[in-house]
């Protein structure tokens, strides 16, 4: 199928650029820091006494969540900035003219670009996320309750940003599409905080505004899913008993409801369809 040919081309393109090397070097650096930090944590002592196991586990859990939080930002930014050129570059340099003169559908081009980008990002999530979890586990013996679910939620977050970036790049210049997609992710993050603050203060207006933002760009819900999967049961219990605690993006009381996950899936389908429609009607 043509879309798979295009996806293959997208992957080869990513592989041949120096991007992969650069990302590998950066990832290694982060992993090295994580290893160093967690090893020191494991060897740390309070008043000359080694950290009790529960304390060590709690600290390790915090580190994992913080790492995942930073990773979600890097991932979203990477998705926005990788997806836009995957879709838009061949339009910008005119190569698309030679491709579309072949017996292929424009929808195949959009789908192939989307698929190729996503395959690369999911691989990145699996490898990098896996390595980081393994490092923490090696240094402290701690593993979060649902590591695979957390990685799946992060991959979902990457899917949302990728879909937005590709749909935007069917019309906008590459750089604009990438930046707008990254900004939307940032707004959604702020929306999530507004929602939490609104709920904590009992201000329904604020909470509703936050909800609308997080529904319009459903990355925050997916981040909360990843967070819940990474949170040890004791932490979840603590959050549940203190509902009015300071709102923060580092703890949740419950996993995102199924309806919200379904909404995110529907959102991806709808935005993808909009991208295809936009590309099909574009004059090249």
């Amino acid at each position: 199928m043509t879309a798979f040919l295009i996806a293959g081309l997208t992957l080869r393109e990513l592989a041949r650029r120096r991007l992969v090397t650069a990302v590998a070097v950066l990832t290694l650096a982060i992993v090295a820091f994580t290893l160093w930090g967690t090893l020191r944590l494991a060897g740390a002592s309070v008043h000359g006494e080694a950290l009790p196991t529960a304390g060590l586990r709690g600290a390790a859990a915090g580190i994992v969540i913080l790492l995942a939080f930073l990773f979600s930002f890097v991932l979203a930014l990477g998705a926005a900035l990788v997806a836009a050129p995957a879709m838009g570059e061949s339009v910008a340099n005119g190569e698309i003219l030679t491709l579309l003169a072949r017996p292929i559908r424009r929808a195949d081009v959009v789908f192939g670009r989307w698929l190729g980008t996503l395959a690369a990002l999911i691989l990145y999530v699996a490898v990098t996320g896996g390595i980081k979890l393994a490092v923490v586990r090696f240094a402290t013996g701690y593993l979060p309750p649902h590591p695979l679910a957390a990685l799946a939620f992060l991959a979902g977050l990457a899917t949302v940003v990728t879909t937005a970036s590709i749909a935007l790049a069917t019309r906008l210049p590459v750089l604009a599409a990438g930046i707008v997609a990254a900004l939307l992710f940032g707004f959604a993050w702020i929306g999530g905080i507004l929602e939490a603050i609104g709920l904590a203060l009992g201000n329904t207006g604020l909470a509703d505004a936050g909800t609308v933002i997080t529904l319009a760009f459903p990355t925050d819900a997916l981040w909360r899913g990843a967070l819940y999967a990474l949170q040890p049961a004791v932490m979840t219990a603590a959050v549940t008993t203190m509902p009015a605690a300071t709102p923060n993006p580092f703890s949740v009381a419950a996993p995102p409801p199924g309806a919200l996950i379904a909404w995110a899936c529907g959102w991806v389908l709808a935005v993808f369809a909009a991208g295809v429609a936009s590309f099909r009607t574009r004059d090249l």
């Binding site: 040919l5 190569e95 030679t98 072949r102 017996p103």
Partner: protein
């Protein structure tokens, strides 16, 4: 056999700009049409409309007997865009291999070598496109357009980056295509070349067709003759068919005719007459 191209009233407006206005045109199988016009006349727009890359604001038509935009028909069509750049990280052979797969081409390696040879790129086929000169990129574009033995080829200024050798190569290539029965739609500013390889031309200006027809017919109307008599050259504004009558009249009138030269204007002169602002 259906016409290679048949369009009726094809039009494209970009906001206030009438890029192409009411283009009605037929190109027979195996025919070479020169599509000429000054910058911004609507030549590239016409090609993109025919290929379905741009949506028309009016008119319709067929390529090879199938409606414009038909997907399967594109297997039999080649296209060299005016402005394009292949990704620099691929080699020419890889670009062609990818297109061969999009075409579901059997015996792809042989066809690829054949088109690379035809455009004179075989020796550099495994170099990355990033290291190509502009002319080499254009040759690669030509190779892509020729892949899969198309029945109809659109060439949008194929020689704009080529050296004189390359231009003569393209001329020979178009002649080979015609011999093979491939129709060619050629956008070009090099009127000398068009005059040599095309059967017919269509001249557009500001989106409007200002002249269309066989090259001979287009130039014929402007023929004249000059005749050398005892007292020097005399000009006669007549068609080629009338020259013997003129000479006979002169001789009957007692004049001594030393030489007769039919004055033939070139396509370029005719073009300038047609599109130069009055």
């Amino acid at each position: 056999m259906p016409d290679a191209i048949a369009v009726r009233g094809l039009a494209k407006r970009y906001g206030r700009i009438d890029a192409l206005h009411d283009l009605t045109l037929r190109v027979a199988p195996g025919e070479c049409l020169g599509f000429l016009g000054p910058n911004g006349a609507g030549k590239s727009t016409a090609v993109k409309l025919l290929l379905g890359l741009v949506r028309p604001t009016g008119g319709d038509g067929e390529l090879l007997g199938r409606p414009l935009g038909d997907r399967a028909t594109r297997r039999r069509i080649g296209y060299l865009p005016e402005i394009f750049r292949y990704p620099g990280w691929l080699s020419a052979r890889e670009v062609l291999a990818f297109h061969a797969r999009l075409l579901h081409l059997a015996e792809a390696p042989r066809s690829i070598d054949a088109v690379l040879d035809e455009v004179g790129l075989l020796a550099r086929a495994d170099d990355r496109v990033a290291a190509y000169s502009k002319g080499m990129q254009q040759r690669l574009g030509l190779a892509v357009a020729l892949l899969g033995d198309p029945d109809l080829v659109f060439l949008d200024e194929p020689t704009s980056a080529l050296d004189p050798l390359g231009r003569s190569d393209v001329r020979a290539l178009i002649e080979r295509l015609r011999a093979r029965g491939t129709a060619v739609f050629l956008n070009s500013h090099l009127l000398g070349e068009v005059e040599r390889v095309c059967d017919r031309v269509c001249i557009v200006d500001g989106g409007h067709v200002v002249a269309e027809g066989a090259i001979d017919a287009l130039l014929r109307g402007a023929h004249g003759a000059r005749v050398l008599l005892d007292d020097g050259w005399h000009h006669y504004d007549v068609t080629a068919a009338e020259i013997p009558d003129v000479v006979a009249r002169l001789v009957a009138g007692g004049a001594r005719v030393h030489a007769v030269e039919p004055k033939q204007i070139s396509l370029e002169e005719r073009f300038l007459e047609l599109v130069r602002p009055a």
